[in-house]
């Protein structure tokens, strides 16, 4: 519950003093706002909301930059993304085999 509250606060702060990063959600690009306090996890939620993806929980998605999966706990600002950065959001694979 505490975590959900924290994420809500992060999301409500997003639209103040924000920058945008391009996130491709299942193939379609969106400009997603973030600010200094935004975590990767909050960015995933915001991107899913913007793209209207509600069929799966946010925990089932992962975001990648430069081919690597980003840690959900990291802050976006700490990744030092260039202005031209494009992140890719896609569903995790689930069980294999």
């Amino acid at each position: 519950m505490k975590e959900v509250e924290h994420l809500r606060e992060e999301l409500s702060d997003l639209h103040e003093h924000h920058q945008n990063v391009e996130v491709v959600v299942d193939g379609t690009p969106y400009k997603v706002p973030y600010n200094d306090g935004t975590s990767v996890k909050a960015l995933i939620r915001e991107a899913l909301q913007l793209s209207g993806n509600s069929g799966r929980s946010a925990d089932e998605w992962q975001v990648k930059y430069d081919g690597k999966v980003l840690d959900e706990k990291d802050k976006i600002k700490d990744l030092h993304l260039p202005d031209s950065a494009v992140l890719f959001l896609s569903l995790r694979a689930g069980i294999l085999g």
């Binding site: 299942d26 799966r56 569903l91 294999l96």
Partner: protein, 190 residues
């Protein structure tokens, strides 16, 4: 399963949309080493390279079939990038998901195989929900494609992204083996 059961124009529209969306990001996909080379309904041909290795190397290719999409999931067929012959178990690279073990010991990560061969023969298939070969397999008849359809799983983007994640991203380096063989003497005046 065979035959046309979905109005072809419906699958064609979805094919065109997903290929168009992929191509709109082609510069980014190329950086990762994913090249969508041909798209002629109902098939696309995609080559994967390891752009992070030195020298960068072409690793594998797939042919993806949109027949009856998306009442049916996409079919993924692994082919050799140049000849387009199917892979056999001895020459297909490994497709792995490597994640931390429950005890977080870095020496013993959890390793799962994403691509396998039926009884070690036949053609390779991607054993993942969202792929036709997975849902058609008797071992997965309890996991219907219709439970996943429309959620972001099994799209062209999703499948190509996972193939890169399991087939290209885990490649750390090229391994070389050099073999020296004694081949007689050279003769000359001393």
């Amino acid at each position: 399963m065979s035959g046309q059961v979905v109005e072809e124009s419906v699958s064609l529209k979805k094919f065109e949309r997903e290929v168009r969306e992929w191509r709109q990001q082609s510069a980014e996909h190329t950086k990762r080493g994913i090249f969508l080379l041909e798209a002629e309904f109902p098939k696309v041909f995609v080559v994967f390279a390891a752009s992070h290795l030195i020298p960068a190397s072409v690793i594998f290719a797939v042919e993806i079939d949109f027949t009856n999409y998306n009442l049916w999931p996409l079919s993924v067929r692994f082919v050799q990038p140049f000849s387009r012959d199917p892979f056999v178990p001895s020459n297909l690279p490994k497709f792995l998901r490597i994640s931390p073990s429950p005890d977080h010991n870095p020496a013993t990560p959890r390793v799962e195989q994403a691509v396998m061969f039926q009884e070690d023969k036949g053609e390779a298939f991607l054993c993942m929900a969202g792929v036709r070969e997975y849902h058609n397999h008797p071992a997965h008849n309890g996991d219907s494609w219709l439970l996943h359809k429309g959620t972001g799983m099994g799209t062209l983007f999703h499948i190509l992204d996972k193939l890169h994640e399991f087939g290209i991203a885990p490649l750390a380096s090229l391994n070389f083996a050099l073999q020296f063989q004694f081949n007689g003497f050279q003769y000359g005046v001393r």
